[in-house]
C-alpha cells in the first residue's frame, strides 16, 4: 500500500459529509478568471523517504512528485476515479490472465528517448527482481515468473543469505513489438487495467539503468511535468514539459512541491497567502470546521480511499474460532458518537470494509453489526468464550490515536461491562513489528489506504488467506474462492462476487470496521478549477492560477 505518512502515524483525518463543497468562486482580490498560463503554483509536500524511483516509492512524499511527472498505462479520472487510457492505447484480455497491452505511438520521455514496450518491461522487471530490494516489489507477485525472481528465505527466520534468484526477468512479460507487449498473470485479475495506474507500474527510460542513484535524485519521466531542480529537504520544482503529447496538458507553467516538516507551518502559510495548496489541513483546523471559516469557498471535503479498522488476531487463544466475540465488540462501539466527538464530526461511520469511493462499493456489508446496540452486544458476549479483559493497542505517534483508542475502549466498557484499556505503542514501527511477527494477543488498530480505486484492493490484500497485509491471519476458504471467482469475472458480475466475499467477513467479524476517512484540502485565492484526484493530490492538469 502507499502509506500516507500521516496515516501510518495515524494522524487525525476527518471525513465529513462525503458531499463536495468545492467551489471556485473568488471572494474579491485577484479574480481567478484571468488565468495565467505562466503561473507557478506551490503545493504542500513532505520529504520523500526514498529515491524518486517508481518501484521504490511507497509513501506520499515521493508519490506526489512521481504522480505529477509520470504517466502510466492508465490514469484515473479526478471526479469518478475510473481508469482511463493514458500511455496505453488498449489493455485487453479474453481470460483475464493474459493481457495484451498496446501503446500509443510516438510517446517519449523527457530526454527524447521513446516510451516503448521495453520501457515498461525493463522497469517492471527491475522492481520485481528480489535483490534490487524495491519496496513495491510485491505488486508483481501476481505476475507469472515472480517466484523465480524472489526465492523464499531458506530457513524462514530472519535475514540469511537467500538463494540467488533463478531468473532476472518475469517470464510473464513478452515483447511483441515496440508498441505492444503481453502480460501473463499467475491467476486471473479482472481489475488489472485499474491496477496498472499505480505508481509501481510507471515506465523507466534507459538512463535509469545506467545510473539508478543519480536518477533517483532527478528522475526523467514521461508526464506533463518534469523535475527541473530541488531536493528532498526544501522541495522540488516541476515545470510543464513542452514535449508532452497527451491531451491532459496543464494550464500552469510550474508546480513547486515545498517540503514541510510540520503541517501547522504549512497551514499558516496558506492563511498568509504563501502557499497555494494543502491537501490535508492539520487536526487543529478541523475543530468546529475552523478551516471552512478560514478559507471560505477555498476548501474541499472529499472522501478518500482510506478505512480504519480494529483487528482481532485469530492466532491468539482469546479469539481463535469464535464468531461471536467480534460481533459483540462491533455492536458495542458507538461509531456515530465517536466520529462526532473525537473527530469533530469528521470521519464517517463505516458500514463495511470497502471505501465508498471505489468501483464496486456497496454500502451495508457489515449489516446490523456496525450499528451500536449494547443489548445485542451483551447477548453475543454471553455466547463467546473470551470475556475480557480487553486491550486496544495503537501507535501513540499519531495525532488523535490516543483519543480514539480510549473512546473505543470506553464504549466497549460501558456496553459490555468488561474491562478494556487503550494500550499505547511508542510508534508505528514498534506496533508493526509486533503485528508482523504475530505477537498480538488482544485488539489492535489497523488501517488501509488503497493503492488503486478498485473494490479488490480493499479485500484480497487484507483478508485472503496468507495475504501480506492480513494482520489478523483470518482465513476463510469460501472468501478465497469468491475472490478468485470475482478476479476472473467481468464488470457487474465481478462486483457481485466481491460484495458477496465482503459480506462473508461479517460471519466472523475478525476485523471490525470503524470509520472511513475524507481529506480536507484548502487553497489560496490565486487558484481556480481545483480538483482533488483519487490519489488525494491536486489535479495539476485542471488547476488554473492567476
Amino acid at each position: 500500500m502507499k502509506q500516507r505518512r500521516l496515516i501510518a502515524a495515524g494522524a487525525l483525518f476527518a471525513a465529513g459529509a462525503l458531499a463536495l463543497s468545492a467551489c471556485s468562486s473568488d471572494s474579491g482580490g485577484d479574480s481567478g478568471d484571468s488565468a495565467d498560463s505562466n503561473a507557478s503554483v506551490t503545493i504542500y509536500n513532505t520529504k520523500p523517504e526514498n529515491p524518486l524511483i517508481p518501484g521504490n516509492t511507497n509513501e506520499v512524499g515521493g508519490g506526489n512528485i512521481l504522480d505529477a511527472i509520470f504517466r502510466g498505462l492508465v490514469d484515473y479520472d479526478p471526479d469518478t476515479a475510473a481508469p482511463e487510457m493514458s500511455m496505453a492505447e488498449s489493455i485487453e484480455s479474453d481470460d483475464n490472465i493474459t493481457w495484451t497491452v498496446k501503446l500509443k505511438a510516438d510517446q517519449t520521455f523527457q530526454d527524447g528517448t521513446p516510451v516503448d514496450a521495453d520501457s515498461f518491461i525493463d522497469a517492471w522487471n527491475w522492481t520485481a527482481y528480489g535483490p534490487n530490494a524495491a519496496l513495491n516489489n510485491y505488486f508483481f507477485a501476481s505476475f507469472k515468473g515472480y517466484d523465480e525472481m524472489n526465492p523464499v528465505d531458506p530457513d524462514d527466520d530472519g535475514p540469511k543469505k537467500a538463494d540467488e534468484p533463478e531468473a532476472k526477468e518475469l517470464s510473464g512479460l513478452k515483447k511483441v513489438s515496440d508498441t505492444e507487449f503481453t502480460v501473463e498473470l499467475a491467476n486471473a485479475q479482472s481489475f488489472f487495467p485499474t491496477m496498472v495506474g499505480y505508481t509501481a507500474f510507471y515506465p523507466l527510460p534507459d538512463s535509469f539503468f545506467d545510473d539508478p542513484e543519480a536518477y533517483g535524485k532527478k528522475p526523467i519521466a514521461n508526464g506533463p511535468f518534469q523535475v527541473t531542480s530541488g531536493d528532498g529537504d526544501t522541495g522540488f520544482t516541476l515545470t510543464a514539459w513542452s514535449g508532452y503529447k497527451g491531451e491532459d496538458k496543464p494550464q500552469i507553467a510550474e508546480a513547486v512541491f515545498k517540503t514541510y516538516t510540520s503541517d501547522s507551518a504549512g497551514y499558516n502559510d496558506v492563511l498568509a497567502g504563501n502557499l497555494d495548496f494543502m491537501n490535508q489541513v492539520p487536526a487543529a483546523a478541523l475543530v468546529d470546521n475552523q478551516y471552512q471559516t478560514d478559507r471560505a469557498d477555498h476548501f474541499v471535503n472529499k472522501a478518500v480511499g482510506v478505512i480504519q479498522t480494529m483487528t482481532l488476531p485469530q492466532y491468539s487463544d482469546n479469539f481463535k474460532d469464535d464468531p461471536n466475540i467480534g460481533k459483540a465488540l462491533s455492536l458495542a462501539i458507538d461509531r456515530d458518537t465517536i466520529t462526532k466527538t473525537v473527530f469533530n464530526g469528521g470521519r464517517t461511520p463505516a458500514t463495511g470494509w470497502v471505501s465508498p469511493i471505489v468501483d464496486g462499493y456497496k454500502a451495508g456489508a457489515c449489516g446490523e453489526f456496525c450499528t451500536y446496540d449494547p443489548a445485542k452486544a451483551k447477548e453475543y458476549l454471553a455466547k463467546s468464550n473470551f470475556k475480557g479483559p480487553f486491550s486496544f493497542s495503537y501507535n501513540a505517534d499519531g495525532q488523535g490515536n490516543k483519543e480514539a483508542a480510549e473512546a473505543i475502549c470506553n464504549s466497549i466498557k460501558n456496553a459490555l461491562d468488561v474491562e478494556c484499556n487503550a494500550k499505547a505503542y511508542v510508534d508505528f514501527a514498534t506496533l508493526r513489528a509486533d503485528v508482523n511477527s504475530d505477537k498480538m494477543d488482544n485488539l489492535f488498530r489497523t488501517g488501509w489506504q488503497m493503492d488503486y480505486p478498485h473494490i479488490q484492493n480493499f479485500l484480497e490484500p487484507l483478508y485472503a488467506t496468507g495475504a501480506g497485509s492480513n494482520d489478523g491471519r483470518w482465513s476463510n476458504t469460501e472468501f478465497d474462492d469468491l475472490i478468485k471467482k470475482a478476479n476472473a469475472a467481468e464488470g457487474e458480475e465481478a462486483y457481485a462476487d466481491y460484495q458477496a466475499a465482503e459480506a462473508l467477513i461479517a460471519t466472523d467479524m475478525a476485523v471490525v470496521p470503524l470509520w472511513y476517512q475524507a481529506q480536507q484540502s484548502v487553497w489560496s485565492d490565486r487558484l481556480s478549477n481545483v480538483k482533488v484526484t483519487p490519489k488525494s493530490t491536486l489535479d495539476l492538469v485542471s488547476v488554473t492560477a492567476s
Partner: protein, 308 residues
C-alpha cells in the same frame, strides 16, 4: 598555549568514541523493527530486509557494527540516507542554515539580553526592571513551540510583519522571527544573569573607589563594571552556541527550516538510525570544537586565566 590545545584535541578522541558508541547503541536498542514502518501495512519483502541488513551489518554483534561504522567514518563515509543521498550531502546543505539561525539567535542574546540586562540593573526596582523581569519569566516558563506558534500567527499570519515560514536557502530576513523564538529562553537567562552580575559588581570596592575618585559615571560603567560582569554571561552564551548548532528541532519545525534539527527529526521519525547516528556525531564534533574556542576566549577576556 599550544600544548594546551593539543591536549584538548587529544581529549576529544575518547569523548567522541564514547558519545558515538552511546548514541549508536541507544539508537539500535530502541524496541521494534527498524524496517517495519518503511513498508506500511505490509511486512517488508525478505530481499529488502536482507539488503538493508547487509548494508548496515545488522547481523553482526553491536561492537562489530560500531567498528564498521567508525571505520567508514574515518574514510569520510558517513553513510547514505534512505532517499539515496549521502549523509554528508544532506548535512552540508542543512548545516549552513543552522549556522545562520544560530548567528541570528546569538545576536539577539548579545544585543537584547546584555543590553536590557544592563538597563534593568541600572534601573533597579523601577518599572522597566519589573517589566523585564516579568517578561523574562514568561519566556522561561513557556515552551518554545507555544511562543513560536503564537508569534508566527500574530506577527506573521495576522499582521504580516514577518515571514510565516522560512523560504528555501533561508534568507536572513526570514530568520528574524525564528531567531528570536530560538533565542527567547536563553535571552531571558542572559538578561537575568547580566542584571545579577552587574548588581554584584556595582557593589564592589573598586567601583566605589572609582566613583569616589570622581571618574565620570559612563567611564566607570564601561571600564570597571560591564567588562568585569560579562565573564559569566559569555560563558553561558558560549555554551549556548554549541547547543544551538546542534539543531533546534522545535523551532525549525514551527518555521519549517531545513536545518540540522529538521534532518535529525525526519531521520528519527522514519527510524533511519544510521543517519541519526552520523548526524549526531557531526553535531558532537561541532559542540566540542565550539567549547574549545570558548575556553580559549576566556584567556583574551581575563588576563588572570592562563592555560599551561
Amino acid at each position: 598555549m599550544g600544548r594546551y590545545i593539543l591536549r584538548r584535541l587529544l581529549l576529544m578522541i575518547p569523548v567522541l568514541v564514547g558519545t558515538t558508541f552511546f548514541i549508536y547503541a541507544m539508537a539500535w536498542a530502541i524496541p521494534g523493527d527498524p524496517f517495519a514502518s518503511r513498508c506500511g501495512q505490509r511486512p517488508c519483502t525478505d530481499s529488502f530486509i536482507q539488503a538493508e541488513t547487509a548494508r548496515l551489518h545488522l547481523d553482526q554483534p553491536l561492537p562489530v557494527q560500531y567498528g564498521y561504522f567508525v571505520w567508514n567514518m574515518l574514510h569520510g563515509d558517513f553513510g547514505t540516507t534512505s532517499s539515496g543521498e549521502t549523509v554528508l550531502e544532506a548535512a552540508s546543505r542543512a548545516f549552513p542554515i543552522t549556522v545562520k539561525l544560530t548567528v541570528v539567535a546569538i545576536l539577539f542574546e548579545l544585543v537584547l539580553g546584555i543590553g536590557l540586562g544592563i538597563v534593568a540593573a541600572l534601573r533597579r526596582g523601577g518599572y522597566l526592571d519589573g517589566f523585564f523581569l516579568f517578561t523574562s519569566l514568561v519566556a522561561i516558563s513557556f515552551p518554545a513551540f507555544v511562543i513560536g506558534y503564537v508569534l508566527q500567527y500574530v506577527l506573521g499570519v495576522k499582521a504580516g510583519l514577518f515571514a510565516v515560514t522560512v523560504g528555501s536557502g533561508a534568507p536572513w530576513k526570514d530568520l528574524i522571527l525564528p531567531g528570536f523564538v530560538l533565542a527567547a529562553l536563553s535571552l531571558a537567562y542572559v538578561l537575568r544573569l547580566t542584571r545579577a552580575s552587574l548588581l554584584e559588581t556595582l557593589k564592589a570596592d573598586h567601583v566605589r573607589t572609582a566613583i569616589a575618585k570622581g571618574l565620570p559615571r559612563g567611564m566607570v560603567l564601561r571600564k570597571h563594571v560591564v567588562r568585569n560582569s560579562l565573564i559569566p554571561v559569555l560563558t553561558y552564551i558560549g555554551a549556548d552556541v554549541g547547543i544551538l548548532l546542534g539543531g533546534a528541532i522545535v523551532t525549525e519545525g514551527v518555521f519549517n527550516i531545513q536545518g540540522i534539527g529538521g534532518l535529525l527529526y525526519h531521520a528519527m521519525r522514519i527510524r533511519e538510525n544510521a543517519t541519526v547516528v552520523s548526524v549526531s556525531t557531526l553535531v558532537v564534533l561541532v559542540i566540542l570544537t565550539v567549547n574549545l574556542l570558548v575556553d580559549l576566549m576566556y584567556a583574551r577576556l581575563d588576563p588572570r586565566i592562563r592555560y599551561e
